[in-house]
C-alpha cells in the first residue's frame, strides 16, 4: 500500500489531517487541470472546496481506491464540467462539454528559451495543439503531462478505453498534419537536457 493509499484509508476513518495531506498533494495539480477548462479561478476554487467538503461528509460511504489521483481527478472533472455547464446558462451562452475550453501551453525550459529555434518549435507545437478539439487537447494533457495510462484516462474522462484510444489517435493525427519535421540539432540539444 502506498503512503497515499494509507492517507486515503485514514481519511476514510475520520482523520482530517490525512485529507489535508491529500489536498496539499493535489491542490496545485487540480488547479492547473481546471485552468485548462476555464480561466475563472473562482469557479475552480469553488469546485475544489466543494469536492473536499463532500469527500469529508461522505467519507463513510467512500471505498478503498487503487488510485487516489484517479479518484480525485475524476470527481473534480465531473464537478467542474457540471458547474461550467450550468454557469453559462446564467450568463446566457450555451456551452456543451465539447465546447468547454482546454488549453495547453507547451512548456519550456530556462535553458531552452535562449534558443531561437526552440521557440520556433514551441510555437509550431502550440499551433498544432490549437488545431485540436478541446477533448483531444485534454487527452494529450492527461497522457503526457499527468502521465496517465489509457485506462486511467478513460476513467477520468468517463469514456470507454476504445474511445480513449480513438481520441488520442485523432489527436496524434492532428499533430502529424500540423507539425513540420524538427531541426535535427535542436532535437539533439533537447535530448541532452532530458538525460541529465
Amino acid at each position: 500500500m502506498t503512503s497515499e493509499q494509507k492517507a486515503w484509508d485514514d481519511f476514510r476513518y475520520g482523520d482530517e489531517r490525512s485529507l489535508k495531506l491529500i489536498f496539499n498533494t493535489y491542490y496545485n495539480l487540480l488547479f492547473n487541470y481546471g485552468h485548462k477548462f476555464t480561466p475563472d479561478d473562482h469557479i475552480i476554487e469553488d469546485v475544489i472546496q466543494d469536492l473536499f467538503v463532500k469527500l469529508w461528509a461522505d467519507r463513510a460511504g467512500i471505498n478503498n481506491t487503487e488510485s487516489v489521483k484517479n479518484y480525485i481527478y475524476k470527481a473534480f472533472r465531473r464537478r467542474l464540467i457540471r458547474k461550467l455547464d450550468y454557469a453559462p446558462k446564467i450568463m446566457a451562452f450555451p456551452v456543451t462539454e465539447d465546447k468547454i475550453q482546454f488549453d495547453i501551453e507547451p512548456g519550456h525550459d530556462h535553458r531552452m528559451i535562449n534558443s531561437e529555434r526552440m521557440r520556433n518549435i514551441q510555437s509550431k507545437l502550440a499551433a498544432a495543439l490549437e488545431k485540436m478539439t478541446p477533448r483531444q487537447r485534454e487527452v494529450i494533457h492527461l497522457r503526457y503531462f499527468e502521465e496517465m495510462d489509457f485506462e486511467e484516462i478513460a476513467d477520468v474522462m468517463q469514456l470507454s478505453t476504445k474511445a480513449t484510444y480513438k481520441l488520442l489517435y485523432r489527436a496524434i493525427d492532428t499533430l502529424k498534419k500540423n507539425l513540420p519535421r524538427f531541426d535535427y540539432l535542436v532535437i539533439l540539444y533537447l535530448l541532452d537536457l532530458s538525460r541529465k
Binding site: 482530517e16 489536498f23 495547453i104 519550456h108 507545437l125 532535437i187
Partner: protein, 348 residues
C-alpha cells in the same frame, strides 16, 4: 546486449514513437534498463534516430508545461474547507443528535397511539350499526376492505368479532351498493371466503363482486354489476338462484323474478354518483324514491299521472334537484310545503 528481445520498430515513425508507452517512459523516467534497451534499438535501427529524437522532443515539451499557479494559496483554500467541514460537523451535532432524541420520544408517542388503537378495536367488537339520514349518502368501510355506500334512509349492521373463519355477514334495509373484496385464494373457495347479505328474509351470497340492493316497501331489487351472486331463501317457499353480471332480480317477499330489461344493473348504482337513471321509471317510481330516500310525502291525485314514463339521467344530489328536473321533464306542476309535495298536471 544481444540477449535483449527487441520489438520490431522497422515500420515506426515519429508519431509511433510519440505514442509508444515504453518510449514515453524512457523519455520521462528513464531507468538503466530503458537506456540499455533504447540504445540497442538505436543500434539496430539507426535510420530511426531522427524520428525518436523528434518524438522525445514533443513528449518533453508537453510534459514540461508551465504549471498554472493560482493566486489563492493552498493553505487559504484549506482553511475554508476546514471551516466548512467543522460547520458540517456542528450541524450534525445540532440536528442529527436531537433528531435521534426526537425519534425516541416519538416512538413513545407511537406506542401510546398503538395502545389506543388496540383498545378502540376491542371496543368496536360486537354489533356495528350504520344508518344514513334522508337524502344522505354514507360510505361504510368493512374490516376486510369491502365497501358499501348507503343511499338515503338506509341501514346496515353486522356483528364483529375476532374470528375470521366465519363468513362475512351483514344485515341491511333500504338501498346500498356493495363492492366486495375477494379474499379467496384462487381455486380454493371455502365457506369462509363468502360474503353474505341478509335482506327481506332472503340471503345473498357473493364472492368478490359489485352489486346493488334496493329494499323498499317490501320489495327487493338486486342488481349485479360484476362477479357472481347467489340468492337463497330457506324455510317456506325455499329457492336458490345464481345471478350473472348484468342481471336484475326482484323479490316481492314471496316470489323471485327476473327484472325488467330497461333497468340495467349498472344504472342501479347511478345514485352512488348522485345521479338517477330514470330509464324505465314511471313518475310513481320517482315519487317513491323521493319518499323512501329523501323522506318526502308525495301526493298525486290525478289518475294516470303516476304512469307517465320518461328516460334520461337526472341529478339526485338533493330532493330539490330531482323535483326541479321532474317538473321540467314530466311537464307537471309541483308545489312543496316542507315535506309535503303535490304533483298535478299542467293546465293546458
Amino acid at each position: 546486449m544481444n540477449s535483449l528481445e527487441l520489438t520490431d520498430y522497422s515500420s515506426f515513425e515519429t508519431l509511433d514513437f510519440f505514442g509508444d508507452e515504453n518510449f514515453i517512459r524512457y523519455v520521462l523516467h528513464p531507468e538503466e534498463a530503458d537506456r540499455v534497451y533504447w540504445a540497442e534499438v538505436l543500434i539496430k535501427y539507426p535510420q530511426k534516430e531522427e524520428m525518436m529524437e523528434e518524438a522525445s522532443a514533443w513528449i518533453m515539451m508537453l510534459n514540461h508545461q508551465v504549471v498554472y499557479v493560482p493566486e489563492q494559496k493552498a493553505e487559504e483554500c484549506w482553511d475554508k474547507i476546514s471551516s466548512r467541514i467543522s460547520r458540517h460537523e456542528h450541524l450534525e451535532v445540532k440536528y442529527i443528535i436531537p433528531l435521534k432524541r426526537a425519534v425516541k420520544w416519538l416512538s413513545g408517542v407511537a406506542a401510546m397511539v398503538l395502545i389506543f388503537l388496540v383498545v378502540n378495536e376491542v371496543m368496536e367488537q360486537g354489533k356495528q350499526v350504520f344508518q344514513s339520514k334522508y337524502g344522505e349518502l354514507k360510505t361504510v368501510n368493512f374490516p376486510d376492505e369491502s365497501v358499501a355506500i348507503l343511499n338515503g334512509n338506509s341501514r346496515i349492521y353486522y356483528v364483529r368479532n375476532w374470528r375470521s373463519d366465519k363468513p362475512r355477514e351483514l344485515w341491511m334495509d333500504g338501498e346500498a351498493s356493495f363492492k366486495v373484496k375477494h379474499v379467496a385464494i384462487k381455486n380454493r373457495i371455502q365457506q369462509a371466503d363468502s360474503f353474505k347479505v341478509h335482506v327481506n328474509g332472503i340471503e345473498l351470497t357473493v364472492l368478490g363482486t359489485r352489486f346493488n340492493v334496493k329494499n323498499r316497501r317490501g320489495q327487493t331489487e338486486i342488481s349485479l354489476v360484476e362477479g357472481s351472486l347467489r340468492i337463497d331463501k330457506t324455510g317456506e317457499g325455499a329457492f336458490s338462484r345464481l345471478m350473472k353480471p348484468g342481471d336484475v332480480f326482484i323479490y316481492d317477499g314471496h316470489h323471485l323474478q327476473k327484472g325488467i330489461a330497461q333497468r340495467s344493473a349498472t344504472s342501479s348504482q347511478a345514485w352512488t354518483r348522485r345521479e338517477l337513471e330514470i330509464d324505465g321509471y314511471t313518475l310513481k317510481d320517482v315519487a317513491e324514491i323521493l319518499e323512501d330516500t329523501y323522506g318526502l310525502k308525495v301526493r298525486m291525485d290525478t289518475p294516470g299521472l303516476g304512469d307517465k314514463k320518461l328516460s334520461g339521467t337526472i341529478p339526485s344530489g338533493s330532493a330539490d334537484d330531482i323535483l326541479f328536473v321532474v317538473e321540467k321533464v314530466f311537464d307537471v306542476n309541483i308545489s312543496r310545503n316542507k315535506n309535503q309535495v303535490i304533483i298535478t298536471p299542467k293546465p293546458k
